[in-house]
Amino acid sequence: MNAAAIAPSAPGGVQPDQRTTVIEVRHLVKRFGEAVVHDDLNLDVYRGEVLSIVGGSGSGKTVLLRQIVGLERPTSGTIRVFGEDLKTLGAAALQALRNRWGLQFQRGALFSALSVIDNIALPLRELRTLPDDLICQASLLKLQLVGLSARDADKMPSDLSGGMIKRVALARALALEPELVFLDEPTAGLDPMASDDYVALIRELRRELGLTVVMVTHDLDTLVALSDRVAVLADHKVLAARPIRELVRIDHPFIREYFLGERGQRAMQALPPAPAAGPASPAHPASPADAPDPAGPQPGEA
């Protein structure tokens, strides 16, 4: 039932009994017609950590994310989020659960007919009982939190640049201050400066709001900078879910290619020197020492 079952050898790693599980995926099978996407996949996500999911194109990263939030139904297997199985929940309980997580879509999925501020305010307005001036202020605050200013509030989604769309999408995902945030390719298509800003932003938010983050990404730099653990999706299952430093010791063609190629080597140099006591435990999200951050994070200032 605990982490040791999935990540069998976590030598000198985290203390499994101190972690609380937020997401628990067991024996997940997903097929689209003949095509097998996941076959007996297992994964745990712990409170307060940043877990990145990597894998080749078409390895089912996004499909896994969509199944966790209930946009796709698994062919078989169980998925529990906050201890609840989505399949057995009633409508009210499901809504309560959905209010506890936020999802930033790959291409933003902003409502094109609404302005930036209305997009962010939408989850708050949907609660139907809060006074509107309060909602506007809270939405402005979220806008500022992701590094945009009140001047951008009345823009329409079609007028935004790619980086701004990602930021607004994140602000909307954070509107209800969820405990759990899913990020689908958060830095894909951003220039390196913007994606560095974004990394600093997520780090800051994580410290401030105590977020648990599940992130699908292709970007090695983001991956190295943010992840506490990395789950590698290959051969239809999670090959391993461990800190990068331990992950690269695994002998598997995908891992060799991905992490130990030239690009991977370059990105890995950003890792802080390994502490003698083993990698930091992700069980204490509030402690700043947690984030592998030599430079000292600043909120995004775009």
């Binding site: 937020v22 009982t129 309060l134 605050l141 209800l176």
Partner: protein
Amino acid sequence: MPARGLESRLAHHFPHPLESLSTPAIEVTRADGAATAHLRGDWTALALSDCHRARALRHELHTVGADAQWSLAGLGRLDHVGAQLMWQAWGSKLPERLEANEAQRRVFGRVAGLRRENWKKHMVDRFNPVTLLGASILSMLAQLANGVTMLGQLAFDLLRFARAPQRGPWREISANIYSIGYKALGITALVGFLIGIVLSYLSANQLRIFGASIFIVNILGMAVIRELGPVLAAILIAGRSGSAITAQIGVMRVTEELDAMRVMGISHGFRLIMPRVIALAVAMPLLVAWTDVMALSGGMLAAHFQLNISAAFFLRALPDAVPVANLWLGLGKGVVFGMLIALTACHFGLRIQPNTRSLGEGTTASVVTSITVVIVADAIFAILFKDVGI
């Protein structure tokens, strides 16, 4: 059943299985004339909305006032919405005597850092008649100009097509004829047939009173071939295919396909507009003829039962009752209506902005406008050809 058991089994594993939010509340104690406000429960957007008391709590906060002693020690969770509620009550500064922990102070720090930069929620004046009139006149002028440009572009494209027909968009033309013409055969047949029956039934009673049953052939023939056939077919096609063309081109705008075409040097006029105009110009007269046939057969059937006029007699009398010029006029109308519908639909399709609301508005406007344009054109035909075929 098993869900219940599982929940308890997992209780140690998940410390917060959907914990119910605790209701936010204020407790005021007074000692030696000094008030102390203890805030309890969760002050988050979800908790505040769950208890439906956001406004009441704001009022309570205001009545306590900033100069009291505030204790947040008993507070559960605090988010920006809850913090903002307090911040407003405190007059946008932390109260002097505040008991709060580091995390809570950090949240207030965020709230304090909010820069509004004069942003105000602004409402667009959507109902002022002067604004509305001005906006609609400007929009009409712009659309007219756009329509004229498009017509000119179409003329150039047709010339280019005539000069090198082997390099024309034949595939698009035939695909459009199939989807706009062939696939509409069923609906035009049904509507035409029923209208023929209705018209025949209504006229039959009047004609019988005057003993002029024979004239059913004139009434039906003239009405259907000259007017009803073309207009019916045009309205059906405007609703069915006009909307489809607008939505299709509109989505191409949303997905940037239009820009992709332009970058590759593929002209919108030559590849999107002209094939549809040609396809409708070809398909519409055929549909008009088809609708005519179906409406006349419906009328014949009704005349047979109501007035005992046989189909053979009806068909023999038809050429004498309706001069053939009417048929050409009807088919000619079909060509013109078809081109107008295609042009209107393309015009609105290309105007669509990349957002969902614009797509809906554009499609509606396209159908309404093309039906109006068809009827206006029909009136012009009636005036121009008042001496032909009557």
